[in-house]
């Protein structure tokens, strides 16, 4: 019976092939990966570990990881990765890597208080730490070598400037995680430099229909909103749908990049995207740790190394489309 079902399924699968899109199209368009998968140096095989505050299945952190892995291959590094969105759990993960005596640590400081003690411990154990993404304000005080990332407030301010340039008057900032400090900083930064009025709305990021209907409801209740700013790439497309449903002419702009955002920028559905180049955050962190081990180098002179914000519009989107498809932009 199972076999019959399976046979039927496979049968229809073969009969029902799609001549457009799909994996075959991807394979046709496949190109060689950037790094050939061989180490470029002959330093010993050091082990670096990265611990982030990412939730499960987050596109952004996936890109950070692919940057880190690529650098690790090049630098002859064994690369380990773990994540947990709870500050307490994250610090325990870091502790477990200290116990394993790794040669370098990369951590995020989204919840600085929970991470303070364990970062100091790493320092005491002689393990160099580089902080990435969040925590630029406290990174140095905790004893990290360097911070690699975007300053969320500065990124927000860049958005405010861009909105002014585009003559926008009333914007809606869509936060998809209540209580995320970085998200608040982005919206607040944008509100600071934006000459128009800015409002916030919280949506349930794990529930796309809720994101859509909430934005729809907001646009219906306030016809004056001419810009919707989403804080993550997957939400930009949903915001565009919501605006369409609500009969609103609002321009959609977003933080972060993915394949759909690149395509939408090209066809004009989106105004602009602010990229903090997550690939660079992973890549640089591993590379800087290697440089520190190999050559005692420190970059940034005590100041954070900024990876963004880079404002991406229609003009740049075409070039980036293929990179977003392979998951490195």
């Amino acid at each position: 019976m199972t076999a019959a079902v399976l046979a039927a399924v496979l049968g229809t699968a073969l009969a029902g092939c799609s001549s457009t899109g799909g994996k075959r199209a991807e394979e046709r368009a496949a190109r060689e990966a950037a790094a050939g998968g061989r180490a470029a140096v002959n330093t010993p095989k050091w082990t670096f570990a990265m611990v982030t505050h990412s939730g499960d299945g987050d596109t952004f952190w996936d890109i950070v990881q692919s940057g880190a892995k690529q650098a690790a291959v090049k630098d002859n590094i064994r690369f380990l990765y773990a994540h947990n969105e709870e500050g307490k759990e994250q610090s325990q993960l870091v502790q477990s890597y200290i116990d394993q005596k790794v040669d370098g640590l990369i951590v995020t400081l989204a919840k600085p208080d929970a991470m303070k003690a364990v970062v100091k411990k790493a320092q005491k154990a002689g393990i160099p730490v580089i902080t990435v993404n969040s925590g630029s304000e406290v990174s140095k005080a905790f004893g990290a070598l360097t911070h690699v990332g975007q300053d969320e407030t500065i990124a927000g301010e860049a958005v405010g400037d861009e909105l002014n340039k585009r003559g926008r008057e009333k914007a809606l900032c869509v936060l998809h995680e209540q209580g995320n400090v970085g998200h608040e900083q982005r919206c607040d930064g944008a509100a600071k430099t934006f000459d128009g009025k800015m409002e916030k709305i919280y949506v349930e990021g794990t529930n796309m229909p809720d994101v859509q209907s909430s934005i729809e409801a907001k646009l219906q209740s306030d016809k004056g909103i001419d810009t919707v700013l989403t804080l993550g790439a997957p939400f930009a497309d949903t915001a565009a749908k919501a605006a369409d449903q609500a009969g609103s002419k609002a321009e959609i702009d977003t933080f972060d990049l993915n394949a759909k955002v690149a395509a939408a920028l090209q066809d004009g559905t989106l105004g602009f995207a602010v990229d903090q180049q997550p690939y660079l955050q992973g890549y640089e962190a591993v590379d800087l740790l290697w440089l520190n081990r190999y050559n005692a180098d420190v970059l940034g002179g005590g100041k954070p190394v900024l990876t963004g914000p880079q404002i991406i519009t229609k003009d740049d989107a075409a070039e980036l489309a293929s990179y977003t498809k392979r998951g490195t932009r």
């Binding site: 996936d62 709305i201 794990t206 497309d237 449903q245 998951g327």
Partner: protein
Amino acid sequence: MSAEAPPVEELASRQPVRGSLPRRLAGRPELGAVVGAVAVFVFFSIVADAFLQWSSFSTVLYASSTIGIMAVPVALLMIGGEFDLSTGVLVTSSALISSMFSYQMTANVWVGAGVSLLATLAIGFFNGYLLVRTNLPSFIITLGTFLILQGCNLGFTKLISDTVSTKTIADMEGFPSAHKVFASHLTIGDVEVQITVLWWFALVALATWILLRTRAGNWIFAVGGAKEAARAVGVPVERTKIGLYLGVALAAWISGQHLLFNYDVVQSGEGVGNELLYIIAAVIGGCLLTGGYGSAVGAAVGAFIFGMTNKGIVYAQWGADWFKFFLGAMLLLATLLNWWVRKRAEESK
């Protein structure tokens, strides 16, 4: 619950009372929920200017329908005395399977949707079968499935697509027709209504018919109210429970296909926490947490109350920071009103 077999008439009496109209109304589990829904509706009509537009109503209906589609089978399951914590991520699994099968096989997207239907039903069957074979609490079994599916959603997506979201299938064959079936909107007058609303209404009608007009409906009330007694009078308890889990899986498949064909790309981490919304809708709608009592219409009204409250707060333009507070307070008020009305109705019987 006593292990002794009560007379069959007593089992049957768990169904709504028949008789004169007021008496029948008073016996309906959804009576309180309807009063609550009217109250919420009137309230937001007064405090929110934009709430009374047709376009707003369509938005509220959409929000309600995406919860309501799942709340209906979840309510039936609860009437049958069981829980399912895996429903939220099962919806995501269903969407992921469709998308990845179509993409990887370069198959017509309908083939992927078919495979996904089989796989989703298999997961529902797994829940039900394990439950009736082991007699463990459904809470534990479906918690296990919930975590397994959460892991699989992420693990398989990463393994197969090498990223945490699926690739776009919008350019593949079959997509336009599938989009029509699962994610289009109809224009009625000058109002756009999402097709999920129709799916929702159809499921409510189907479930109500099963509950009130078929033998299987009697079985559901019986296994939820008094399992051993039901077994003693010849109700196929195991078949009924497995059937209920299959119903949940079927609705999860419909929701999952909507997610996929509406948003085209599926994020593998989505859906966590939604299982609670479905249970909340069923409970607001009058389903008892202990089983044996409730209705599909009630669950639909419960979803509608949730949708109205959730969006009404946005229409009312209340402070965004306090959103969850208002949501909780409004739901509590609606449920209290619901409880009060039902108590009054029962007293007057």
